[in-house]
């Protein structure tokens, strides 16, 4: 009986460690972004530190560009119904990472901006970032 209880506690603690992963060790998240003149929706993606973010981006009109400033990502988004692009973003540091449309798409091109906000979930949800 005593052995069974000890064994049960060991298994329970092991299961507990599996079911409560540390966010820093990485969780995966997928977000779909729609680009159209002249906005990205959603324009802000908030993830905790350690997230492996997969952005699926498609256009509802013309060809747009998706550029994350200072991160070396600059890729074309195909026109409506012609496919999507996928951008992987590893949230390894807290901060605000802006993305812009990098292909002139019309009179309001400069309005097409957004941000990936990476927050350290041990402190807050990134409200101040």
């Amino acid at each position: 009986m005593r052995t069974t209880v000890i064994l049960g506690l060991v298994i329970f603690s092991l299961l507990g460690s599996i079911s409560r992963p540390d966010a820093r060790q990485g969780t995966a998240r997928e977000v779909e972004i729609v680009a159209e003149r002249f906005s990205f929706t959603p324009s802000e993606v908030r993830v905790p530190l350690g997230t492996s973010l997969r952005l699926r981006i498609r256009s509802d009109d013309t060809m747009h560009g998706f550029r994350i400033i200072g991160k070396g990502v600059n890729i074309l988004i195909p026109k409506r119904r012609q496919g999507e692009v996928v951008v992987h973003f590893e949230a390894t540091e807290a901060g605000r990472f802006e993305f812009w449309c990098s292909r002139l798409c019309g009179a309001g091109h400069n309005f097409m901006r957004g941000a990936i906000v990476v927050f350290d979930d041990t402190r807050n949800d990134g409200e101040g970032i």
Binding site: V34, R37, F38, S39, T41, P42, S43, E44, D60, D61, T62, M63, I68, I69, K71, G72, V73, I75, P78, K79, R80, R81, Q82, G83, E84, V85, V86, V87, H88, F89, E90, T92, E98, R103, L104, G106, A107, G108, H109, N110, F111, R113, G114, A115
Partner: protein, 419 residues
């Protein structure tokens, strides 16, 4: 009835001329071109993969990859972008016209990551001369100082952020050969002028623009066209008085855009001792759900001291313009992609109801001109051989409240493209 019958014949002829809609030779040519483009895409694929590898290896631990886009055509563009609008307009009781309505070039330049220049130069109706209606206009030429997402500065020739079409007027993004009448007569699209202001995106999908810009010249107001001919267009604009304009819009839900805007300014500078002003408020919304797209707009302008303006104009020019104290208009539009397949097999149908009155409320002692209390139904199709190319056909039934003057119906065919 005869007019309508002749238009139906024209539509049939149009379908024969553009057999891509019904699956003829041009359609198959387009398919061949797409296949050719796909082959080019495959040729480009190694370069994209190389770029993806480079990014993967970057210290920032970012990876970007393009999923295989087997059916994507590759759109090539140079340093200049723009859009074009070529129309065939057949108005009842007038000769039909062919009109290369708009030839627009957009140029941009980035001085740095956060200092950018954008310009839009527009030639309307092909030829600028004393004998034609042609105009060469600098509709936009501004420098953006991109400081942060919620706060940025803009200065130069700017678009008034009023309505759906004024800031978003590339031909493939709206249905109908001509822009909605409400956004031509009530909101004088394209409404542009010299100005400076701020813009940005706040939390929760809220965006704003707030500009100080040149005002309108009340000497150009009219009973039929409302404020339209009052635009100074940045040409040595009178700067004794400035206008304020702004927009707040919500873009936080996919497919939904809801916005409101205002414009307010003193407009009587052309006449001594005339204290005339205009205030416009506007509400609009767009919603797209799957293949259905709905949009609507309501705009209402209040013209202050307009009786004094009418009398001043009559003293100077000898004719009373009968400008109203209030003008207003609204429209509702629904469209549906009846062939929701990738171009060149993409076809949408639309219907739009508009109601606009440039004589909505008159000053004491003035009677409204009923011919300018108008409403219309437009139905049509838009065929997209490419998402950036729109072939449009529509028929508009226009009515007014006059017992004497009839409003002309019109049949329109257009070809518009963005590049």
């Amino acid at each position: 009835m005869h007019f309508l019958t002749s238009k139906i014949v024209s539509v049939i002829l149009f379908i024969v001329v553009f057999p891509g809609v019904s699956g003829g030779q041009i359609f198959s040519d387009l398919r061949d071109r797409v296949r050719q483009a796909n082959r080019e895409q495959l040729l480009l694929a190694p370069a994209q993969r190389a770029r993806a590898r480079n990014v993967t290896g970057a210290p920032s631990r970012l990876r970007a990859a393009s999923d295989p886009i087997s059916n994507s055509s590759v759109s090539q563009t140079g340093p200049i972008s723009g859009y074009m609008d070529f129309h065939f307009n057949d108005r009842q009781e007038s000769d039909p016209v062919l009109d290369f309505h708009r030839f627009v070039l957009l140029l941009n330049h980035s001085f740095s990551e956060r200092v950018r220049f954008v310009a839009e130069l527009e030639l309307e109706h092909t030829v600028v001369s004393n004998e034609t209606d042609g105009e060469l206009e600098l509709e936009q030429a501004y420098v953006d100082f991109l400081i942060s997402r919620p706060f940025n500065l803009r200065a130069g020739m700017v678009l008034a952020p009023v309505g759906v079409i004024n800031e978003r007027h590339e031909p493939p993004v709206y249905h109908g050969v001509e822009r909605p009448s409400v956004e031509t007569v009530i909101v004088p699209t394209t409404w542009f002028g010299a100005g400076v202001g701020i813009h940005g995106e706040l939390r929760g999908g809220l965006r704003y623009r707030l500009y100080g810009m040149e005002t309108l010249d009340a000497a150009g107001f009219s009973a039929e066209q409302g404020l339209r001919d009052g635009r100074q267009k940045g040409a040595k604009s009178n700067a004794k008085h400035l206008a304020g304009t702004g927009r707040l819009e919500y873009v936080g839900t996919p497919g939904l855009v809801v916005g409101t805007s205002f414009w307010a300014g003193d407009t009587g500078f052309a006449f001594p001792r005339l204290d005339n002003s205009v205030t416009m408020i506007e509400f609009d919304g767009r919603y797209r759900w799957q293949e259905l797209d709905l949009r609507g707009l309501y705009a209402h302008a209040f013209l202050d001291s307009i009786a004094d303006l009418n009398e001043s104009v009559q003293r100077v020019f000898g004719i009373n313009p009968n400008v109203a104290e209030q003008i207003r208009g609204f429209y509702l539009e629904g469209s549906y992609f009846i062939v929701p397949k990738p171009a060149p097999r993409e076809l949408a149908a639309f219907v739009r109801y508009e109601n606009f009155d440039t004589q909505y409320r008159m000053s004491a002692g003035y009677l409204p001109i009923q011919a300018y209390d108008r409403d219309s139904w437009s139905v049509g199709i838009t065929y997209f051989p490419d998402p950036d190319v729109a072939v449009k056909v529509d028929y508009t039934v226009m009515r007014n409240q006059s017992d004497v003057v009839t409003a002309p119906n019109s049949f329109n065919v257009g070809l518009g493209w963005w590049f």
